[in-house]
Each structure stands twice: as C-alpha cells, then as structure tokens.
C-alpha cells in the first residue's frame, strides 16, 4: 500500500498533538521529540532509498482517484528534500535541548517545532497546488509561533513585518490559484501540466505563472522581495534561526522549481531565461553586498541566505539538466552548511554573549574546535574545494557558460569571491585577533553544543569528497523533474 508516504506528514502531526497535551512536562517533551526526530530521520532515509529503487510513489488520499481527489507524490526530488529536512531538524532540535531556556520551552516550543515539520514535509509531498497552499499556511502559522517565541521587543517588532508580508503573499497565492483554476479547471499538478501543454503557455497563463513566481519569491527571499528576511531572522534564538535559515526559504525555492519544471516550462525563453535569471542575478549580488556591509555574525549569515538562494534559482533559470542538477546539489549543500553556520553562531554567542563582530575576538585560542569546524563550514560556503560548496557552484556556473549566459555566470563568480571575503571577515574578527571575552567566559565548555553540529560539518566534507556519486544522484533527480511526463504518468496512470 502507498500509505507509507503519508508518514512524514502524520508522524510529526501526531507527536505535535501529543506534546500539546503534555506541554508542562519538560523531560517527557525532550525525550519524545528527540526520539521522534531520530525515527523520522531513519524513516526518510528508508523512503529515499525506496523511491530511488522503485520509482515514484503516489497516494490518493481518501481513495478519491486523481485528478479529482488530492494526491501525494513522492518522487526523487521530494524525498531528497524530506531527507535534508529531517537531517537539519534533528540537528537543530538537539542544539535546542542545550540552548532553549525552560521559560521558552514551556510556551509550546516543541509542538510548534513539529507542526512546522508537518507543513514543510506536506509542501514537499503534495501533488495538488491548492494543497500546497494549505501546507504553506501550516508551516507559516507554526513559523509565526516560533519566530516570536520568547517575545522580546525586537522579535515582536520584526515578526509583525514577517507576518504581514507572508499574509500578503498568501493572499496573492490564493488569487493566483483561483485564476489558474478558472483557466484550466483543475488543481492537480500533473493534470495542470497536461492541460497547459494543450492550451499553450501564452498571455494569461504566463501572467499566472509570474504571479506564482512572485508568491514563491516572497517566501524564498528573492530580489526584490527579500527585505523581510535579514531582520526577522536576527531575532529568534540560534536553534530557531538555524532551522529557519536552513529550511524555510528552501520550501519557497522547492515550490518554484516544482512549478517551473512541471507546469510552466513551455515558454522557457521568457520565464526562465529572462525573468528568473535576472531575479537570480540581482538576488545573488544584492544579498552578498548586504552581507559585506554588515558587522554582525548573525546578520552576515542572514544576508548570505539571500545571495545563495540566488544560485539555486539561477540553476533553474539556465534550465538545462546540468544546471538544475547543480541547483539541487546546491540546495542540499546550502541547507546543511547554513544550518551549521547558524548553530556555530549560537555556540559562539554562548561564549562571548554578543554577536557583534567588533566585540568578539580570539575564540581560536580558547575554543579551537569551534573555530576550526566553523572554518570548514565557512570555506565550504564560499566554494573552496574539496568541500561541497565548490561542487555545487561549479556545475551551475559551467552550465551558464555552456548556454552563453556569460553575465550571470560572471556575477556568480564575483559573488563567490565576496562570500569568501565576508566569511573571512567573520573568521578574522571573531576567531583571530586579541581575546575580547573574559577569562571566565573562556572557560565555558561548549563541547555539548558542538556535538549536534559536527555531523553537519562531516556531511559537507562527505558531499565534497564523494561528489561524484552524489552529483550523479542529483543529475538523476534533475532528469526526472525535467521530464514532466514521468510525473504525469505516475499520477494519472494512463
């Protein structure tokens, strides 16, 4: 039975509900959520292998056959995203055990955490565009709860903007879906793809495509709609910021890639080569310039999310199997490394008490493990071989040159250089130089904080050293999503 693919959605759902009932028992909450996240991780590994071996699995919820009912579709791209989600969710959760204060814990931290995973996993699995909206709402509602969690003045102010921009883009999302439905008469993504192939993608359908792009660009923090991100991610504690930085924008990017490879791929000369590529270029450039101008550990990392989302979308914009494979590899690399970097920020803050780079220094001497693990992640982010960053940027830029998109490829190279510069700025200020924290602070042991991050650093090394088989895998994922017929056939079974 295909019911197996509903499990990544209902396991966190059930656990979230149970944790809601036992909200006052700290110990129990930690035990349940820790075990669940590990179980979820093991299960998604199994599911990834299963889908890789046996092909796409489709579940028709409620026994209503497609295209009338809602379908859940686990293809290779979706399962890869599920796996990455489970990895970083587990790392962030174990980091949260050590850093989230009991006061915050009591206010439903763990239920929100699992409901967020419900929304994220659902958005990856669903094969129905309205259902995608519903799962987006689930994850957004949980994220409102988490981003304001703790309720400091700064958080309340910035979360308000976060809520407003997301409510606005959700409204636009519904409008776009309603319009799409009135034109095509269906909401099933496979069916939509078929219908739009018959209708030819012109005029009004291109307009709808662009509306959806605007919606996903807001969620995914693309130019010019990224302004909400750096400030709102600065507020919450490191474990939450790491989860958001690693996960949430990537859901928007996932939706963009899904919709623009499965449904709106007929007019690639306009939508992909012009609109998406230009947006990607500006996103990369302005994001990294923002990062260069900042002098705060966390803010630099937040701006880097923006610049790197640009790379992924650039891969989609170039729209060859190589470029899309690069984009997928980049998503994997980025989710892991970005989460690790945010968690390092949390660990460094535990020692120094600040995240302003000018007040930090000399961590290398007192906490060498922190420093060197951070160094590996930082140069991986900047794209220095042999780590994963290099092997994810290389195919995207190569594909750019192959397709004659010299400008965007040049921008991507420049952005890589500036990324290296701002990562070295963090390393230079926070880890080198004179020790600015007190002797007492120097004695703070952070081994337990580093334990959940170390596997992430190991993964970026593995993704770099074993780039050949890993890249082969993402190439297969790319080939699967670049051929919409595979998806359509498995959903509609014709």
């Amino acid at each position: 039975m295909n019911n197996i693919i509903i499990l990544p959605i209902i396991i966190p759902f059930i656990i979230g509900a149970i944790l809601l009932i036992f909200a006052k028992h700290h110990k129990l909450q930690r035990v349940i959520s820790g075990l669940t996240s590990i179980a979820l991780l093991l299960f998604t590994i199994y599911l990834t292998v299963l889908v890789y071996m046996d092909g796409i699995i489709v579940l028709e919820a409620g026994n209503w056959s497609a295209p009338f009912g809602i379908v859940l579709v686990a293809d290779m791209f979706a399962t890869l995203m599920l796996l990455l989600t489970a990895i970083i969710a587990t790392a962030c959760l174990f980091f949260a055990f050590k850093t989230i204060t009991p006061k915050r814990e009591r206010f439903y931290f763990y239920p929100f955490y699992f409901f967020l995973l419900v929304g994220v996993n659902g958005a990856f699995l669903t094969g129905d565009i309205f259902n995608l909206f519903v799962f987006f709402e689930v994850l957004l509602l949980a994220s409102y709860g988490l981003i304001v969690h703790g309720g400091t003045k700064y958080q309340l102010r910035e979360s308000f903007k976060y809520v407003i921009i997301n409510v606005f883009s959700s409204a636009l999302f519904v409008v776009a879906i309603a319009w799409l439905y009135s034109v095509t008469g269906t909401l099933n993504m496979a069916h939509l793809s078929e219908r739009i192939a018959e209708l030819e993608q012109t005029g009004v359908i291109n307009t709808i495509a662009m509306m959806l792009f605007i919606v996903f660009a807001t969620k995914g923090a693309l130019f010019p709609l990224y302004f909400w991100l750096p400030k709102s991610y600065f507020g919450p504690p490191a474990a939450i910021a790491a989860l958001f930085g690693g996960l949430l924008t990537k859901v928007g990017i996932y939706a963009t890639i899904r919709v623009f490879t499965l449904i709106f791929y007929h007019d690639a000369g306009f939508t992909h080569k012009i609109i998406i590529t230009v947006a990607a270029g500006f996103t990369m450039l302005l994001g990294v310039l923002g990062a260069v101008s900042q002098f705060d550990f966390k803010r630099i990392l937040s701006y880097h999310i923006i610049s790197q989302v640009g790379y992924m979308v650039m891969g989609l914009g170039i729209f060859t199997p190589l470029a899309v494979a690069g984009a997928i590899y980049y998503i994997a690399h980025h989710m892991i490394v970005k989460t690790a970097l945010f968690l390092f920020e949390g660990a460094a803050k535990r020692v120094t008490g600040v995240s302003d780079l000018k007040q930090m220094g000399g961590l290398l001497k007192t906490h060498p493990w922190l420093a060197w693990l951070f160094f590996i992640s930082a140069i991986s982010l900047a794209g220095i071989p042999p780590f994963s960053g290099f092997f994810s940027k290389f195919p995207i830029i190569l594909a750019g040159f192959q397709e004659g998109q010299y400008v965007i490829a040049g921008v991507a190279l420049l952005v890589g250089l500036l990324t290296l510069f701002s990562m070295m700025k963090i390393f230079g200020y926070a880890f080198w130089g004179k020790q600015k924290h007190t002797e007492e602070q120097a004695k703070i042991k952070i081994g337990k904080l580093l334990a959940p991050i170390a596997p992430l650093v190991a993964l970026t090394i593995i993704l770099g050293l074993a780039a050949e088989p890993m890249f082969q895998y993402s190439l297969e994922v790319a080939e699967q999503i670049m051929d919409p017929q595979i998806y359509i056939d498995s959903v509609l079974k014709e």
Binding site: N2, I14, A17, L20, L59, N63, P111
Partner: protein, 144 residues
Amino acid sequence: MRKSPANNMMLQTAMRYITIIVFAFSFYLFFAGHNSPGGGFIGGLMTASAFLILYLAFDKKIMKKVIPFDFTILIGIGLLFGVGTGIASMLFDYPFLTQFFDYFHIPFFGEVELTTALSFDLGVYLVVVGAAMSIILVIAGDDE
C-alpha cells in the same frame, strides 16, 4: 474578567438555564452536520460561546474550580481524533482518510446514518472549542 461590584444574581440565575439551551443546540448542530448545515466547526463555536456565557456570569476563579483542566489540551486531543480517523482507514489497507458509512437501526432514534467522518468532526469540534476558549481566556487574563 474584572469583578463588578454590582449584584449580578439576575444574570447568574438566567445564565444557568440559557447555557443548557445553548449547549443542547450546539450538540444538535454538531450531529446535524455532514449532510445538512452544521458540523464540528459551528458546533464547537457554539459550545465555546456557551462556556463564555458562564465565564461572563461567574468569575474566572470560580470557573477554574468548575473546569479544572487547560483548554489547550482539548486542541491536542481533537487533533489526535482527526488524524486517528485517517489512520484507522490505513489499518484496513485503504488510503489515508478514506471514509466509510452505513445505515443502522437504533431504538428511539430510528434509521441513522453513521459515518467515520463523525469522529473526524468530533476532532474538529474539540479543536475549535479548545482554540476559541484559550484565545478568549488569554486575552481576558491580560489585565491581571
């Protein structure tokens, strides 16, 4: 809820009877659902309003003695009911959330249609009661 110095015996006496009517109507609406207007959401809201009348007539402290549990727990239980309905169909090897129904003859009620959607609706009902009451009580407790 601020304690009013006025004697609100009229209110309290009347509310005891009004609440019963509102409760009864909310249950009626809950069971009417599925094929005719009504259902878990509207039934839940009406039950929440019945509770609210009691909170208005009496004090929050007195009500705390009458209803000793936290309303947020209802949200959790309701969610479990909802997802449990879906899982039940999985156990019989049907796709998630498949619903079943049949007609039964029950004494006094006569011919009755029973569906598995009812337990899903019960989940919705509990979530709505829990969420509405927690929101109202949190806001009402703001000035304490």
